[in-house]
Amino acid sequence: MNEHIHRLNCYVENKPGVLARIVGLISGRGYNIQTLNVGPTEDGTVSRMRIDVLATDKVIEQVILQLRNQVNVIEVTSRRM
């Protein structure tokens, strides 16, 4: 399967350790994050992360499911760039 850039949009609770957990799920599988943006939303207790990763559709599908399993992750969507 071909690799593509996937853009993950994650809404997460604004708590310490959340970024590390999310980044760890991706880097722990040997994938490089190409771009990472983290910032607050209008609701100060929620942060938005935008992560671009080069990976196959299957890997991204699995990463998304595992991200959604995380205790502090509110929502994840993705789009192939």
Binding site: V12, E13, P16, G17, A20, R21, G24, G28, E61, Q62, L65, Q66, R68, N69, Q70, V71, N72, V73, I74
Partner: protein
């Protein structure tokens, strides 16, 4: 939070102990150290029992064994730095097998974090990859709520271990915070139920199947759904295969039982899955040890995968019908819609495979005990009622193959992580949880040496655990792979002085050919020790040990060249099973 009253103020450490009581803790396994002293200082007044292990890895596996035997979270308390890092293997073991645990670690005061303080380790950073969730407490006020959340997370969705790292200043700080009555997490809502469409389709698939197989995993046991699997199997006469983690979820003495599936599973289980037209997989994750060559796996079947973990579905094997829901709910709901069936032809075919390729072994030398016979001996001595706890390696597979598993939570084994050293402490944890159970730990001589120090815990608490050490004087599973796939170069796998490669040669003027002497080691730990070499004495010795009320270590000297068969070599399909 209710407004503070002065008389409700107590230290964070005291609040932690109170919270653990409220969470239902019965036994706390742990080991003290500098950054956990404030908590330890509160333990004498606690309503739960404290059990002092001898190594933090042992404490973690004890908590794990407690959880596997009961389904309730095992709780463990250790200090910072090396105390915390020693629990990592225990966390990883519980995490991959979905075992609920709460591990509390001391931490240096917040003001010292990041300064390379004495016994400082970034525990939440290290534990993140091997736990379900980690908390780093920031103030004493957070402690009661954090404990409640940790127990909630450990037991909801796919269970798993949760770490609470508590800096010393938070243990010492005063708080009036109370244990919450309800836990509500903003982002974590793992409960999910099957849709009507899914249930209709499931019932239709079952009713139309001609060659169905039920395939039950650890998720059936953690959902408490063993009886529901049996009900469905009996209603529609569906044969049942289990994973290693699923052993005990279906009575192997039942005519519908296929036994263990996978790399060392029975021919009947593997070939039934190969030729099935419907696989009903409940609470499994299709590990690579089970599927063998993925492209060949269950090619003829409609595959139904039911699991509480959405990330398990379509991970390794694509499902024709994937249902994220509680396994027990799905089984009970579908049962009323399933018509009774006989599947006579299919069951006859499976019976043919059972007769053609039964689980069997041949003695290699008349005067030497075959390791498989030890499992049969334990089965006889306990009438199949033993709560078996295994270590990892050949003996683990033989225990899976040659014991008639028939009760859930009676086969505790490190399935996913394959952690050597798990057996001894996990058996101790299980016996604390089930004081009346006949707990038998089965270890190899390799794994037994990794955590043998914990035997003293069994002895000092007068636990009647029987630790069986299957001694083949080598790391049997490693040796087997080297024999089969590495040109018989036994590098690093031979524990006796004899038989080592030249680069590992040791002078042969040693007093002993094999060290340690397990009987003297056991006696030094205060346990009753037996050594069996003669096959004729095996049954009597095992029976004596399991029936006694003492902690016993039984060293069984076995045939060193015995291999685990059948076997599907890595990357091959189930049709290429090797039988000897």
């Amino acid at each position: 939070m209710r407004p503070m009253k002065k008389n409700e103020m107590r230290t964070g450490a005291k609040a932690l102990v109170e919270s653990l009581e409220k969470a239902g803790t019965e036994v706390l396994f742990g080991y003290p150290g500098g950054q956990a002293l404030d908590i330890f200082n509160c333990l004498p007044e606690a309503k739960f029992q404290f059990v002092l292990g001898r190594h933090e890895q042992g404490c973690a596996h004890m908590a794990d064994g407690y959880a596997r035997a009961t389904g309730r979270p095992g709780v463990c308390l250790v200090t910072s730095g090396p105390g915390a890092t020693n629990t990592i293997t225990g966390l990883a073991t519980a995490n991959v097998d979905g075992i609920p645990m709460v591990v509390i670690t001391g931490q240096v005061p917040l003001s010292l974090i990041g300064t390379d303080a004495f016994q400082e380790a970034d525990m939440t950073g290290i534990a993140r990859a091997v736990s379900k969730h980690c908390f780093l407490v920031q103030s004493a006020d957070e402690i009661p709520e954090t404990v409640a959340e940790a127990f909630y997370i450990a037991t909801h969705g796919k269970p798993g271990p949760v770490v609470i790292d508590i800096p010393k200043n938070c243990q010492q700080g005063l708080t009036a915070a109370q244990y919450p009555e309800r836990v509500s997490l903003r982002a974590y809502h793992p409960e999910s139920t099957a849709t009507t469409t899914q249930m209709n389709r499931l019932a239709k698939l079952i009713n139309e199947a001609r060659r169905p197989v039920l395939y039950a995993g650890g998720g059936v046991i953690s959902a408490g759904a063993a009886k529901d699997v049996a009900a469905l199997a009996h209603r529609a006469q569906i044969p049942v295969a289990t994973t290693l983690m699923g052993l005990g979820s279906f009575d192997e003495r039942d005519p519908l039982a296929l036994g263990l599936a996978g790399m060392h599973g029975s021919a009947a289980a593997n070939w039934a899955i190969r030729d099935a037209d419907l696989i009903l997989a409940f609470g499994v994750r299709f590990s690579d040890r089970v599927t063998a060559k993925i492209s060949e796996y269950a090619k003829k079947a409609n595959l139904v995968h039911v699991d509480c973990d959405p990330a398990s579905l379509n991970k390794n094997v694509p499902a024709d019908l994937g249902i994220v829901a509680d396994v027990k709910d799905v089984l009970t709901t579908v049962l009323s819609r399933v018509k009774s069936a006989e599947h006579k032809e299919w069951l006859a075919r499976i019976d043919g495979w059972r007769k053609e390729r039964p689980m069997a072994y041949k003695p290699m030398h008349k005067e030497v005990i075959m390791p498989q016979s030890v499992m049969e001996s334990i089965d006889r001595a306990t009438d199949g009622k033993a709560l078996l706890v295994t270590d990892v390696g050949q003996h683990q597979m033989w225990a899976a193959q040659y014991f008639r598993h028939n009760l859930p939570r009676h086969f505790l084994s490190s399935g996913g992580m394959g952690t050597m050293g798990f057996g001894i402490p996990a058996a101790i944890g299980a016996q604390f949880a089930k004081p009346n159970a006949t707990v038998v730990a089965i270890c190899g001589d390799g794994g037994a040496q990794m955590t043998f120090e914990e035997v003293v815990v069994a002895v000092e608490h007068k636990l009647p655990v029987t630790f069986v050490v299957i001694n083949n004087e080598c790391l049997g599973m490693v040796r087997q792979w080297q024999e089969l796939f590495y040109s018989k170069r036994y590098s690093g796998s031979i524990l006796s002085a004899k038989g080592r490669l030249a680069n590992e040669h040791i002078e042969d003027d040693l007093k002993y050919d094999y060290l340690p002497d397990f009987c003297r080691l056991a006696e030094a730990h205060g346990a009753k020790a037996y050594r069996v070499i003669d096959p004729a004495k095996l049954d009597a010795t095992i029976a004596k040990a399991v029936k006694s009320n003492e902690t016993c270590v039984v060293e069984v000297v076995v045939e060193p060249r015995a291999n685990v068969y059948p076997m599907i070599p890595g990357g091959r399909s189930v049709s290429e099973m090797v039988f000897d």
